[in-house]
């Protein structure tokens, strides 16, 4: 039998049902893969093998009784932004220290109640602020992808870099992730994986460490479009504990895959042809258009005139909300405390030591734009732009069913390449933030390789709560483009000699 970690989520599910292997075997294979890979990739900040094996044991019992739930026995990784009951949760920030929640995020609980197995907590940019996973307090994640013939360490994207790297390196069947400005789609694009940020309100935010409340959404990163559809089906749903979550039925996304794209109207926004866009991204986009056309869709040029304001407006709204959301990390009740001579001094010491540079930068920007005298010029104006962006899309939906764009302006970059230039890093989100600002669903699907031999993704944007159409269209692209997996497992230690456990308390 080939390596169980090579399986897709759907294949593993079917294999478990067919009793080709047990959930325990499947889980053990992943635990071993993590042990072998993590010293090189740093995708997991905390592996929880005992926890995983206990869940796998229960899954095997249910499978034996024929009482399998939708994700029975399927091992997943969980981004460290999701609070986990009894398991350390840090958002990859020093300020949370060894914080161990007494509660499970709703999305996490949905997955475990569907039978899934948690392998551990995945690395991410600190508080999900970053596009390269280089701001994590646990150090950067190394992408399993390398440029052809090179060994430079590449970033796996961010902030869900642990999720994208773990899925691409077969260290889990699929992973949870979150997306505030592109944190699911950009890492998915950079690692040849599929990621979907659902409509704002589709998944509960309860129990997920908040970055920017009006933009944050949970979603999966998976190996295939089908796997992403299966994952979202279990993650989504109304939660009375999050009043911004929407009480609407969750369709069977997996069943929607078979529908195809015949007659689907695909919009191509001219404003996304940004200045200096590389030839290969342009070609990728053209390929996507042709594939969809060949599968029966119609292509329409559309205009989203306020697109150019999305990124600057995003970098007002997101830091503003973050500056307030992160005020609770004050050293009083949990997490890090660095005592000072009085309470103000304690706040200052704690927050200076606890937050990394990028987080501090965003708290300062956010505090500034909300200050008296600046609020109207920045925050209020940014919210108005948001309304205009939404209106652009509302108009587009009268002509098209789905919008096709590139996910990122360029392929994966090397460590340190953009860390000195925050603007260059922020530009990573140029095609993705618009979707968060409008609250729409967006999906990234692998569509080709760059001239450097690294993955590139296409983004599909849908109508509110129409994730099903995104999966259909993405399936057409995946069918045409094929899957992109890393050939050489350079990261795996030659033997099981590498016993260094990842993360670990």
């Amino acid at each position: 039998m080939s390596d169980l970690t090579d399986l897709t989520l759907a294949e593993a599910r079917d294999g478990l049902k067919a009793k080709s292997f047990s959930a325990t075997e499947l889980t053990k294979a992943h635990i071993e893969a993590i042990e072998a890979a993590n010293p090189a990739l740093n995708a997991y900040v905390l592996a929880t093998p005992e926890h995983a094996l206990a869940q796998a044991k229960e899954a095997d019992a249910r499978l034996a009784k024929g009482e399998a739930r939708p994700l029975e026995g399927l091992p997943l990784g969980n981004k460290d932004l999701f609070c986990t009951n009894g398991v350390r949760t840090t958002a990859c920030s020093r300020i949370l220290g060894d914080f161990t929640p007494t509660y499970e995020s709703t999305v996490g609980a949905n997955l475990w109640n569907a039978g899934a197995v948690m392998l551990g907590k995945l690395n991410n940019d600190e508080f999900a602020m970053g596009s390269s996973n280089e701001t994590s307090a646990f150090g950067p994640v190394v992408s399993p992808w390398r440029r052809t013939g090179k060994t430079d360490k590449l970033v796996p994207g961010g902030s869900s870099g642990g999720s994208s790297a773990a899925v691409a390196a077969n260290l889990c069947l699929a992973a949870t992730a979150t997306d505030t400005g592109g944190s699911i789609r950009q890492p998915a694009a950079l690692t040849g994986t599929v990621g979907i940020k659902p409509t704002y309100g589709r998944c509960s935010r309860w129990g997920i460490v908040a970055f920017a409340s009006s933009l944050d959404q949970a979603g999966p990163i998976a190996k295939t479009v089908r796997d992403a559809a299966i994952m979202l089906g279990s993650m989504a749903g109304h939660d009375p504990k999050d009043t911004t979550s929407v009480d609407a039925p969750v369709p069977n996304y997996e069943a929607a895959l078979a529908k195809g794209v015949k007659g689907l109207r695909v919009g191509v926004p001219k404003e996304y042809r940004v200045e200096g866009m590389s030839k290969e991204i342009e070609k990728l986009w053209g390929d996507g258009i042709e594939w969809l056309k060949a599968a029966g869709a119609t292509i329409h040029e559309i205009s989203l005139p306020h697109t150019k304001y999305a990124l600057p407006a995003y970098y007002i709204v997101a830091p503003a909300e973050a500056s307030s959301n992160l005020a609770r990390y004050d050293g009083v009740r949990y997490g890090l405390r660095v005592p000072g001579k009085d309470v103000i001094d304690t706040y200052e010491n704690t927050r200076a030591a606890g937050f990394g540079k990028e987080v501090r930068r965003r708290i300062l920007i956010g505090t500034y734009v909300l200050s008296a005298g600046y609020y109207d010029a920045y925050y209020l104006k940014a919210q108005k732009i948001r309304t205009l962006i939404k209106r652009d899309f509302d108009e587009a939906w009268s002509k098209v069913d789905v919008v096709l764009t590139p996910t990122t302006p360029s392929p994966a970059f090397a460590f340190g390449e953009k860390t000195g230039d925050p603007i260059a890093m922020y530009l990573e989100d140029i095609f993705t933030v618009t979707v968060n600002m409008a609250g729409l669903p967006g999906l990234s699907v692998p569509a080709g390789l760059s001239s450097e031999g690294t993955p590139l993704g296409l983004q599909l944007i849908g109508k509110p709560f129409d994730e099903a159409t995104l999966f259909q269209a993405a399936q057409a692209i995946e069918d045409a483009a094929g899957r992109f997996t890393v050939g050489d497992r350079w990261w795996a230690a030659p033997s099981s000699g590498a016993k260094k456990k990842p993360g670990g308390k």
Binding site: F82, C83, T89, A91, L96, F99, P101, T102, Y103, S105, R205, W206, G207, I208, V209, A210, A212, S213, S214, P240, K241, D242, T243, T244, A320, E321, S323, S324, L326, A327, R328, D330, V332, R333, Y334, V343, Y347, T367, L370, S371, A372, Y375, Y379
Partner: protein, 494 residues
């Protein structure tokens, strides 16, 4: 202007404060924080019960654990709408919760969820009575917000402790317009507001527990001038202190201005022990709260039918009850005011008065019962005499079975021993003697024993009172006074 104000009629000038340079007018606006009467907090299911062990009513949301989200408690919304209706105020069908950002150890989120630009209740008004005159005081707005926890500084030499039981409890901040012109008016305003809240059942008004507290904005000016610079006196927690705080603050500001200085806009604290206000923080030290709409909460929206339904089930309010008591029971405005001040008192009175002589009932409730309750520090809820017993007593008076004097004895028995009034009167022989034969006998005895007084009475008819007293004494107070008078007059030939 000043001279005109000075000479302009005494009654108009009654609120003015005399200074070295002439009379001053004090201008007061109030911000009252009233704890919403609700079983659980504004955004979490934790209990709001008072007096629990520290940190025993704290949910994950109240402690601002990572990833926690607020969920609006619908009962708190209904209570705010009811209060708005009671204040005859505009109810906003759409309102927005904002975050007020500041750092403090007893503020776990690092922000207070409050309503800033779009409150749930808009403009309304309250009628107050001061010195027999009715005045309308404008309400600017009412908004909902979270209370903070409590910092405890006296438990350890090295640390402060935090109790989060109050963290997240719903408060209504009720802001008046600057319509008040004296300490008395300020006190009458808070008293009336408290009465309305208690009638509505939307706040228990318990100032000792801090469930109702006032920030008092005070400024002074020469009558007719534009508004002066105001100071805000924070967290005044009794009606008496509100009066004192206004008076000392107005005097302080007048002294500053008359000494050639200027009042600084600032937040001050009232020290009841020293009878002074002192600076807490200046305008320059004021926080920049960085208000913005809370992205965790959608705008709060409901329709008019929701408001109409709450309005339809609103209890009778003090002003309506007052008008009805005057009309239905023929009470004086003053008696009606005393009775409606507390809903329990009014209810008690009505139980006594229904189907009886309203004025007589009011007299007994106010003078005898309230007097006695006051003296013994009891409230109506713990009255030893029930409304049924007092009603029975009134019945016995109205039927002429007992005299007013005997009724007082009966009241004493009811207070100390209890029992059924009619039975007590029957068993203890307290019935009024209306048998003229018995009274005549008593009168004859008195006349026979006091020939000198009989002579005097002939010259001075007001001596009749002495005879009445003697007869009452000899009959143990049970003789019908009217009959005694009649018989005495005849026998003495007056």
């Amino acid at each position: 202007m000043r001279d005109a104000a000075k000479s302009g009629g005494k009654s108009k000038a009654s609120n003015l404060i005399a200074g070295a340079t002439g009379d001053w007018e004090v201008v007061i606006g109030m911000e009252v924080h009233a704890q919403v009467a609700s079983a659980s907090k504004l955004f979490s299911g934790s209990s709001t019960a008072f007096g629990a062990e520290p940190n025993s009513h704290v949910s994950l949301v109240d402690a601002a654990m990572p990833g926690m989200l607020p969920v609006i408690n619908e009962e708190c919304i209904a209570q705010a709408v009811r209060t708005g209706l009671g204040l005859k105020a505009e109810i906003n069908l759409k309102s927005v919760f904002d975050r007020k950002n500041y750092f403090y150890p007893d503020l776990p989120q690092g922000y207070q969820i409050s309503q800033y630009k779009q409150p749930i209740v808009g403009e309304g008004e309250i009628e107050i009575d001061v010195d027999g005159e009715t005045k309308r005081v404008g309400i600017e707005r009412l908004h909902l917000e979270q209370d903070a926890g409590k910092s405890i500084h006296d438990q350890s030499p090295d640390y402060s402790y935090v109790d989060l039981n109050r963290s997240g409890v719903a408060l209504m901040e009720i802001v008046s317009k600057p319509d008040l012109r004296s300490a008395k008016e300020a006190q009458a305003y808070v008293t009336k507001l408290r009465t309305i809240l208690r009638y509505l059942g939307t706040c228990d008004g318990d100032m000792e527990k801090g469930n109702l507290r006032a920030d008092v904005n005070v400024s002074v000016r020469k009558p007719g001038d534009k508004l002066g610079t105001r100071c805000e006196i924070k967290n005044v927690n009794s009606i008496r202190f509100i009066g004192q705080a206004v008076e000392v603050e107005a005097r302080r500001q007048i002294d500053i201005i008359e000494d050639g200085g200027a009042v600084d806009q600032e937040t001050r604290l009232f020290d009841p022990g020293k009878g002074e206000t002192r600076s807490m923080r200046s305008k320059e030290e004021a926080h920049d709260y960085r208000y913005f709409p809370d992205p965790d909460l959608l705008p709060l929206e409901f329709d008019q039918s929701y408001v109409d339904d709450l309005a339809a089930h609103l209890p009778e309010l003090p002003d309506q009850k007052h008008a009805r008591f005057v009309k239905e029971y023929g009470l004086s405005a003053y008696d009606a005011s005393v009775l409606v001040a507390e809903r329990d008192n009014a209810d008690y009175f009505e139980a006594v008065a229904r189907g009886r002589d309203g004025k007589l009932a009011a007299n007994w409730v106010i003078n005898e019962l309230f007097g006695r309750l006051n003296k013994e520090g009891k409230d109506i809820e713990h009255s030893p005499v029930s409304s049924a017993q007092l009603g029975g007593l009134v019945d016995l008076i109205s039927a002429g079975t007992i005299s007013g004097k005997i009724a007082k004895d009966l009241f004493e028995i009811l207070w100390t021993e209890g029992g059924d009034p009619a039975e007590i009167v029957e068993k203890r022989g307290m019935k009024q003697v209306t048998d003229t034969g018995a009274i005549e006998k008593a009168v004859d005895e008195i006349i026979a024993a006091n020939p000198d007084k009989v002579e005097q009475a002939k010259a001075k008819p007001s001596m009749l009172g002495w005879f009445v007293g003697q007869v009452m004494k000899s009959t143990g107070g049970k003789a019908n006074p009217a009959a005694v008078n009649e018989i005495l007059k005849t026998k003495l030939g007056l």
